[in-house]
Symmetry: C2
Subunit: 208 residues, 2 copies
């Protein structure tokens, strides 16, 4: 059992650029990455690999292994899976609401594959018991794709239903979820810059 | 144990008006309401009350009781709770991804109150064992408010973590979730009008 976290710090999270500068986004993704690593460790996962196209921002990483692969996300992950000789959990780096309880439940699945959907049909985490028999295809509605890939290759699938594990931080409105439900360094960073404001019955993010 | 569903058909779901006409929105909310009622029945809840400011669209409702109250949502619900002599689950009418499994788990809570968060700090469902000791305050970040109200009155709280129970249908992008994860009449209605399209790695709603 090992975990792999795809990660890229340089100019990360461009969809947050309306509210955070590039420097801030890079600081923020690093905090989120560290939180995800801590969560995986807390869940008892011994081997944690970060898969990145560059060492930028990972020069001093001691909590996890850094694997370099300049290919695109799918190619790099599929190469990783092909070589893996044990079950793999792929975890996105932008899941600051993911808890060790979630991770323990995901990896306890009785099925061959466990897919954790994010909003808009994304895949926030993917646990694969037989990685050499599986290929990933992120982007687009990857949730449906990842369910189909399992079915087409005769592997059973569990869908892990969690609002918090399902919350990936991509857009300004996602920061609202972090401020409401989050904890730890990533939330602290955002709560120094923004507060929540009620307007017309809805919650909005306001720069401090 | 009984369930109450706040409901208003007239000019419902104005935030869907960029993609659905008023007539379509009214048809759609009625389908969602019926789906929620069926889900509650399937979960074994015997008494289901619809709380509405008007009988409009409820003239032929036979699956649930119709209670009229022209007051605003909070006032009407708090009056309802005050008179309730048994545990109450409040369920919003716009939760077509809610399943009977969710409902059964929510009402099985060991705590006094179970809050089901929706996106943006909303409250999609609220289970209250001692309704005469509780008041609701919807709008704004009602999730945090509802947790606080319980704590301030010495009632313990469970947060029910579900992406699907947490998906209320308010905005066009929520229809994407319905098309990806949904089933039943509400999904069927939307899938006759829209399809999903992949563009720049993201899933978008396109009129058929």
């Amino acid at each position: 059992m090992k975990a792999v976290i795809p990660y890229k710090k340089a100019s990360a999270k461009s969809r947050l650029s309306p509210v955070l500068t590039r420097e801030e986004r890079e600081e923020f993704v690093e905090l989120m990455l560290n939180q995800v690593i801590d969560t995986l460790k807390e869940a008892g996962i011994g081997t944690i690999d970060i898969l990145s196209p560059s060492t930028y921002g990972l020069e001093n990483m001691t909590k996890a292994n850094v694997l370099l692969d300049k290919s695109d996300l799918n190619e790099a992950l599929n190469r990783y899976l092909k070589q893996a000789e044990e079950p793999v959990i792929i975890v996105m780096a932008d899941l600051p609401l993911l808890s060790s309880k979630h991770v323990k439940e995901i990896i306890s699945t009785k099925k061959d594959v466990c897919v954790v959907p994010g909003k808009g049909g994304g895949t926030n985490s993917l646990f694969i018991k037989n990685p050499s028999r599986y290929t990933v295809r992120y982007y687009g509605s990857s949730f449906l794709t990842h369910c189909s890939i399992a079915e087409e290759t005769g592997q059973s699938v569990e869908v892990y239903d969690s609002l918090f594990a399902g919350t990936d931080i991509d857009e300004p409105e996602d920061l609202v979820e972090l401020l409401i439900h989050g904890s730890g360094a990533a939330k602290k960073y955002i709560s120094k810059k923004f507060r929540l404001e009620m307007s017309r019955g809805r919650v909005r993010l306001v720069h401090i």
